[in-house]
Structures are given as structure tokens and as C-alpha cells.
């Protein structure tokens, strides 16, 4: 039996480290008491025996050896936490009001808001019971009192919800009013009961919106009864106003009288970019979001007049919570490594082994800051690896088998992810309530971002690493995150910058860095497909996270909600770069056209490729030989996701198609943004846009760009011991790109046409 890959899990505090940096490794072992640790530099991370095979070079460290394993829990589910509970009543009158838009009201207990300790059964909580009914629960330590209106809440409809407890009479009142009444459905539903009591939960119990304080696990505080849905404008009062007064206070907290004792009025419409949640009440009980609930989402007053939360924050006063949101596992550190000075830049992993178990945690060693140790930088597409991290599409998405046109076997890692939803989701997933996932964090174990069986992105890029090593090129590795942080300055130290098989996710600063580098004499080799496709955001306020909004076009596994296409981290419109005026063709000459997962095919040279100007690309390659009619993924170099040249989409006027795909066939399918009316001719047999183009163009100051336009290019490099025409062409281009002699653009800026 192969070693289990899920018994030892972990992550690192930072993905990219330089020699001398401190790297913290956080691990959790379900049942492994002792493990052996070492570190490896990854030459190839793909164990497929048909390819170059797993190639790991030991990277000795002083920490190599046996270490003790232990279990660390994960507290998934988002909420807002308010720790300032000073002056809250202990057992007296109290009221809560809010607007809610529940997205999964039936099936499990959920807490909308409260000051409740589950282990002590004390405090108060406004909940939804598992039948989908609102409930107000009070606890006096062992004695629980609640009231539940008879009608169920409506999914994805706005309700005003209210609950109160009158200390003098012991009366609970709880209910809701529908903001958008539906014929035949009750407009409101209320309940009351007498003889209730409550007392304050133990000191240190926070007020929470979207969860309650659950039983601790392994000594750690945990949230529980996590809510799915939106909440807007929650208020607390130290009195028991009637429902109409409570609604007036919820709508306008300033309307609260002295006697109504407003305790808190939280405003989710400010600080949307960050984690701080402001209290407009007299106590200024500001709080913070935990586990990245969705912000910059439409509230109850959104009317379609704006689509950008920056223009009308009051229409974006809601936060959308999910039971399966996760930012940071907050595990304590097991191993703290000072990165040895002699570790060369590259793809690395910590490796933990025990009898029957083996685990990897991936990271990258970059050159010392401000330095380059080689003329070539390979940009590890960490934003892509992160975006796909822990994808559940084989379990949750109806169309996965159609997309891949095969069963795509489920691995141990994928089985584990299905059963351990606390490890969080990818940008390809939907939350348990069906809404799309905006945020992906690396502060958690990422089971498909490491050597293993997931044959996309990370693994494919290690084929480029293996190729560079096999051909004897010295190179540094930098990551998308480094590039976002340091911009063009990072790239400017290199004669050649290589992007890998699938640099799909790009922040504005990343795009601008590539663009500035290319315009100042830089040489960029883009060895992939579907690159520079989605606009994402990083944020200093949310370390280790990227945000992505799926927008209304592009190949997606879910579609964003109306009014929710702007990134909460930056306010920028999200979606495709093409929708944002920067088609990938503008940057690299080609842009996404099609998927082709059933098999891969090859390129054929164009007439233009035979002009002397471009001869360097094809040295040693025949005029008419097919290029890449072999490969590890689908048997060809044109496959999976492919890009085409198009001057109408901004391909530079001097850009030239040197080769194009051939025999695409029925498996090639045009991407959504490539057609505007549905026809019967969207496949590769009928539609010429379903193709990959290999493109070259010169850039200002003697620079150049060369793009392959296909994900499968990278996984054809190693065929026949790296002796093949894909390898040869890549090497020809790299050698010329390393040559400092400037590239001169054609006279008049336009290319020679054959």
C-alpha cells in the first residue's frame, strides 16, 4: 500500500522565504505520534511513472530528524467577534434586532447573533432552528428558555428579525417580518412565552454575529452553530422595546431613547476592505471579522442603481457568513527553521514521514531580497495554486465529469477533503449554501498544492523546473505573492522571466509589474495557457489570502450575484481582465479561447515562422514537422486550456503567430466570453477560434515576449528524456532571450508577413 498522504497535514506561515528568513511549519497529526522531518528541493513533483517521475533533492537542515506529532483542530465558519462586553446586563432586559437573508435556514442550528456560551448554556442567542424557524434562546446555567415563531423563514429573502426579554415580567418575545412579502406566505410570525430568565455567560465570552461560543476542542476556543446567510445592521439594547420600536432602532440607531438603552449598533457598511467592524452605539464596541465572511455584498436596500460598493456603501451594509469559511487555522508552530544560507532558490517542501504515512508542505526559496542569483526568474504561479487549493468539484459540482469527459479518479486527498470540510474551499467551489467562494487562504493545509496526484498547476510547473534543471539553466524562483509585493523591481533584476503552465490569477500590481518589465527591455516567456485571466486582489489586512469574484462571463463553476462583482479587498471591479479592458492578448499576445480536456494535439508552423527574423525559434526544427505531437497530458503539447492571438483584443501590432494548433477536434470548446450568440458551431471541428497560437513580439528597449498559449506545453517538455521539438524550441527561445543583444522591432512597427 502507498503511504497515507492525509495523516500528517500542515502549512507554513509564509510561502516564499529567502536564506536567513524564519519559516514556521504548523502541523497536525491525526494519529501519528512521531514523524521524521526533512526538507527537499523539488526538481519534479509529479510521481506519474510515465513522466520524469518524482525528483526530490535533499536540502539538509539542523532540524532534520524525529519530532513529536500532535493534533490541532480547525475552527471553520465565519463570524464577527466583539470582546467588549462591559456594561451588558446580567439577567435583565435585553433586545436584539437585525435584518437577515438566510441562505440555508433548514437542516442545522445556526446562530444569527448572541452572547451565548454553549458549554454553560448561559446567555442569550437569536438562532434559526433546524426546521428553519427563528428562535430566541435564553440560558441561566442549566435552565434554558426559548420561544419559536411557527412559520419558517424564507431562503434568500430579507427579513427583519427581533427578540426581546423583559426582565420585570420574564417575558420573551421573538419574531420576524418579511421585507418583500410573497403572496400566500405569512408577512410575519411572532411568538412569546412567560417565566424565562437568563444570566450572563462566563467572563471572556464574546458577543458574536454568525456563531456562538461552542465547546473548546483540544484546549482551544471554538465557534459553533455557524450561520449561513447575510446579516445587516444588528443592534442590541438593554431594554425590551416592542417590535415596531425595535425595528425603528435597527433602521436608525440614533432614534433610540435614553430609556431604550442602546448597547450596540453595528455598521457593516464601513471598513468593507478590512476586518474591523464599527459600532455606532454609545459603547463603541468595535469588533472584527474572523474567517473571512463575505463583505462588499448587497444589503437589503440595494436597488441596482449601483454595482460598486464604493459608490453607495449604505446599499452594501450586509455581511454574508458561511459555515465553511476559513482564513487561518491558527495552529501553533511545530518547527521553526532558519532557512540555510546554502539553499539555492527553488521549489521546496518539508517532508514528514512515519510508518505508513508521508506528508509534504510546499514552499519556495527565493534569492536574498534585492538580489538575483541567476539571469532567469521562474515565477511560481502561487495565486493559481492557491485559487485551486482544496477544490471539491469532483464531489460538489454537477458538470465536472462533462468538463473533463472522463471519470477523473478520486484520490485519498480528495476523499479526505470531502469528509473534512473544515480545511476550507477553493475558488472553484460553492459554499454549503450554494454561494460562490470569494476568498482563498494559504494559512491552512492545501492538499493539491504539493507533490501528489493532482495533475494541474503546481505539478505541471514542476515539469518546467525539471526541464530547466535538465537543460542546465540556472534560475531563481519568485512567487506571485513576491511579485505583488515588490512589483517590477523584482523582475528588473532578470534578463528573462518565465511564467509557467497556468498563470491564471493576476492582481493589478502583478499585471503592471509584467507590463513595466516588458516595456523596459525585459524578456518574458509565457509557457502556458489561460494566463492573466482573472483579476484578483491581495490585501495587507488579510495576509495569505487572495480574493476573486467570478463576474458574469468566463469559464466558471459558479456565477457571482448581481451587484457583487467588485472586490471587497480593493473595491476594484473583479472578473476577467478582458472585462476590465486588459485582454491577456495585450500583455502576452494571446488570450484564453478554449478548453480541450479529452485529448491534446499539436502545433504546425505558420509561413511567417520561416522568415529569417524568427529563425532563432525553430533552429533544428523542420519547416513542416508537427510540434508537440506528444505529451504527458492527453498526448500533445496543445491541450487542457489554450489561448489564441487576436489584434482586436489588443495583441501588439508587431506580434506574429509562429505556429498554430491543428486537428483540435470535437473536444475543443470555445470559452463563454468568446461568443455572444449561441450557435451550433462552438467546437473545434467547426470553429477556428478554438485554437492555440504560439506568438512572438518585440517590446520597447530591446525586449521581447514569446507565448505558447497552451497548458500542455509544459508537460510535453520532458518527453523522450527532454529530447523533442517542444524542448528544443523552448531552449532556442531561452538562449536568445538570455542574449543581451536587443531585439529590434520590424521597420515601421509592423511585422513582416510571409
Amino acid at each position: 500500500m502507498a503511504d497515507s498522504t492525509t495523516r500528517i497535514l500542515g502549512y507554513v506561515d509564509r510561502l516564499s522565504v529567502a536564506p536567513g528568513d524564519r519559516l514556521e511549519l504548523k502541523l497536525s497529526c491525526a494519529d501519528v505520534e512521531r514523524y521524521r522531518l526533512d526538507f527537499v528541493r523539488i526538481v519534479c513533483g509529479d510521481p506519474d511513472p510515465r513522466g520524469p517521475g518524482l525528483d526530490l533533492v535533499p536540502a539538509p537542515s539542523p532540524l532534520d530528524g524525529e519530532h513529536r506529532g500532535r493534533f490541532q483542530p480547525i475552527d471553520a465558519g465565519s463570524y464577527v467577534r466583539f470582546d467588549d462586553t462591559a456594561g451588558l446586563p446580567d439577567g435583565g432586559s435585553v433586545a436584539a434586532g437585525a435584518f437577515i437573508w438566510p441562505t440555508a435556514p433548514v437542516g442545522r442550528r445556526e446562530t444569527v447573533l448572541g452572547w451565548w456560551s454553549e458549554p454553560d448554556a448561559s446567555g442569550f442567542a437569536l438562532e434559526i432552528d433546524k426546521e428553519g424557524r427563528l428562535r430566541f434562546r435564553l440560558g441561566a446555567g442549566g435552565r434554558v428558555f426559548d420561544a419559536t415563531p411557527a412559520s419558517v423563514l424564507l431562503e434568500r429573502r430579507w427579513h427583519f428579525v427581533a427578540a426581546s426579554f423583559a426582565g420585570e415580567t420574564g417575558t420573551i418575545r421573538v419574531g420576524w417580518t418579511l421585507l418583500d412579502p410573497c403572496a400566500g406566505f405569512p408577512v410575519d410570525s411572532w411568538a412569546a412565552r412567560e417565566g424565562a430568565a437568563w444570566r450572563a455567560p462566563p467572563p471572556g465570552t464574546p458577543i458574536l454575529v454568525g456563531a456562538h461560543s461552542a465547546r473548546p476542542s483540544h484546549g482551544r476556543w471554538m465557534s459553533g452553530a455557524n450561520y449561513n446567510g447575510k446579516v445587516e445592521s444588528p443592534v442590541l439594547a438593554g431594554s425590551a422595546p416592542d417590535p415596531s420600536r425595535l425595528r425603528a432602532i435597527t433602521e436608525r440607531p440614533a432614534a433610540a431613547s435614553q430609556e431604550e438603552r442602546l448597547l450596540a449598533a453595528w455598521d457593516f457598511s464601513s471598513g468593507i476592505e478590512g476586518t474591523v467592524v464599527a459600532d455606532r452605539g454609545p459603547g463603541a464596541r468595535h469588533g472584527h471579522t474572523v474567517n473571512l465572511p463575505a463583505r462588499g455584498v448587497t444589503g437589503r436596500t440595494w436597488d441596482g442603481s449601483v454595482a460598486d460598493w464604493r459608490l453607495a456603501p449604505d446599499q452594501y451594509g450586509a455581511i454574508h457568513f458561511h459555515e465553511d469559511d476559513l482564513h487561518d487555522c491558527r495552529w501553533t508552530t511545530d518547527i521553526a527553521l532558519e532557512v540555510p544560507a546554502d539553499w539555492r532558490s527553488g521549489f521546496y517542501a518539508a517532508r514528514m514521514r512515519a510508518p505508513g504515512a508521508a506528508g509534504y508542505v510546499a514552499f519556495f526559496v527565493r534569492p536574498p531580497r534585492g538580489e538575483a542569483n541567476a539571469p532567469i526568474a521562474l515565477v511560481a504561479s502561487t495565486a493559481t495554486y492557491l485559487s485551486y487549493a482544496n477544490t471539491h468539484i469532483k464531489f460538489d459540482s454537477l458538470n465536472t465529469e462533462n468538463l473533463y469527459e472522463s471519470l477523473t479518479p478520486i484520490s485519498e486527498d480528495e476523499l479526505y477533503l470531502n469528509e473534512h470540510r473544515e480545511l476550507g474551499l477553493s475558488h472553484y467551489d460553492t459554499h454549503a449554501d450554494g454561494s460562490g467562494v470569494f476568498y482563498a487562504s494559504r494559512l491552512r493545509p492545501m492538499l493539491n498544492f504539493r507533490p501528489g496526484l493532482y495533475t494541474f498547476n503546481y505539478l505541471n510547473d514542476t515539469h518546467v523546473v525539471a526541464w530547466l534543471a535538465a537543460r542546465g539553466f540556472d534560475f531563481d524562483v519568485v512567487t506571485d505573492e513576491d511579485l505583488h509585493a515588490e512589483g517590477e523591481d523584482l523582475l528588473s533584476r532578470y534578463r528573462v522571466v518565465i511564467t509557467g503552465s497556468h498563470p491564471e490569477y493576476t492582481s493589478t500590481r502583478m499585471w503592471d509589474a509584467f507590463d513595466a518589465y516588458q516595456r523596459s527591455g525585459g524578456r518574458h516567456m509565457y509557457l502556458g495557457g489561460n494566463g492573466f485571466y482573472w483579476r484578483i486582489a491581495f490585501s495587507d489586512e488579510h495576509p495569505g489570502v487572495i480574493e476573486n469574484r467570478r463576474g458574469i462571463t468566463g469559464v466558471r463553476t459558479w456565477e457571482g450575484e448581481p451587484g457583487e462583482h467588485h472586490l471587497s479587498f480593493t473595491g476594484e471591479p473583479g472578473g476577467l481582465w478582458r472585462s476590465n479592458g486588459r485582454p491577456p492578448q495585450r500583455l502576452v499576445g494571446v488570450g484564453f479561447s478554449s478548453t480541450i480536456f479529452n485529448r491534446s494535439t499539436h502545433y504546425r508552423r505558420t509561413a511567417a515562422s520561416r522568415l529569417p527574423r524568427y529563425a532563432f525559434v525553430f533552429e533544428g526544427v523542420g519547416d513542416d514537422e508537427p510540434i508537440g505531437d506528444f505529451g504527458l497530458r492527453g498526448g500533445g503539447a496543445v491541450g487542457m486550456e489554450i489561448d489564441r492571438w487576436d489584434p482586436a483584443l489588443g495583441a501588439p501590432p508587431n506580434s506574429v503567430v509562429l505556429a498554430s494548433s491543428e486537428d483540435i477536434g470535437i473536444g475543443g470548446l470555445l470559452s463563454v466570453e468568446e461568443f455572444v450568440t449561441t450557435t451550433r458551431a462552438l467546437d473545434g471541428v467547426q470553429n477556428g477560434r478554438v485554437r492555440a497560437d504560439m506568438v512572438f513580439f518585440e517590446t520597447p528597449e530591446g525586449g521581447a515576449v514569446w507565448s505558447t498559449g497552451s497548458i500542455a506545453w509544459a508537460t510535453s517538455l520532458a518527453i523522450n528524456g527532454f529530447e523533442n521539438n517542444v524542448s528544443r524550441i523552448t531552449e532556442n527561445v531561452l538562449r536568445r532571450f538570455l542574449d543581451p543583444n536587443p531585439f529590434d522591432p520590424p521597420d515601421g512597427g509592423l511585422p513582416e508577413r510571409a
Partner: protein, 110 residues
């Protein structure tokens, strides 16, 4: 909210068209003719609950058939009784089972 519904896959597989099954048997990975593509699309759009799947037993060596639970967090049912050493054989076996499931008739090519 955009939601896929397996009930929207309405193509009816004609159990008399065993020629299509033979086409698949002879060329599991395709490309396939138009009518067989329709059959496969119908089969691959079955509900996630009880959907047949392939599960890795030994990486690159052996696989077994499973059925998804369709419920997040709940594991698939795994059938260890038959171990496959060729993924195309898994595809074929799943094709046979889906044929029965969708047409009500056993697929008999003898």
C-alpha cells in the same frame, strides 16, 4: 443564483442503440460520434447523489468503483469487490451500469 439541475439533462438513451455502446467499448477516450456524445453527456449529468465514480486504490496502478453520497462531508460508497488495473475498464464498467440505470435494460453486447 445560477444552479445546475440534473433534471435538465433530458436526452433519452435508446436501449436498442447498442451500436453506440460498441463504439464506446472500442474507443473509450474518444473522440466519439455525435449520438454517442449525447449518450455520454446524459450519463455524465446524473445527480451527484449515487453518481458512479472511480476511486484510486493504488496510485497509477489500481482503481475501484464508488458511488458519491451527494451530501457534503459524507464519503462515497466504495465497492472493493472488483479491482481494476486499467482506467478504461472502469469507464466501461460505469458505462454499463449507467446504461442499465438510464434505460432499465442490461447492456448485452454478446
Amino acid at each position: 443564483m445560477h444552479v445546475y439541475d440534473p433534471a435538465d439533462s433530458v436526452y433519452r438513451i435508446d436501449p436498442a442503440r447498442t451500436d453506440l455502446a460498441r463504439e464506446f467499448r472500442a474507443n473509450v477516450r474518444g473522440p466519439h460520434g455525435e449520438e454517442l456524445r449525447r449518450v455520454l453527456h446524459r450519463m455524465r449529468t446524473t445527480p451527484l447523489r449515487a453518481r458512479w465514480c472511480a476511486i484510486v486504490r493504488e496510485p497509477f496502478e489500481s482503481w475501484v468503483i464508488g458511488r458519491l453520497s451527494g451530501v457534503r462531508g459524507e464519503p462515497p460508497e466504495v465497492f472493493e469487490d472488483r479491482v481494476f488495473t486499467d482506467l478504461d475498464e472502469v469507464e466501461w464498467e460505469v458505462f454499463r451500469r449507467r446504461w442499465k440505470q438510464l434505460t432499465g435494460e442490461e447492456l448485452d453486447l454478446e
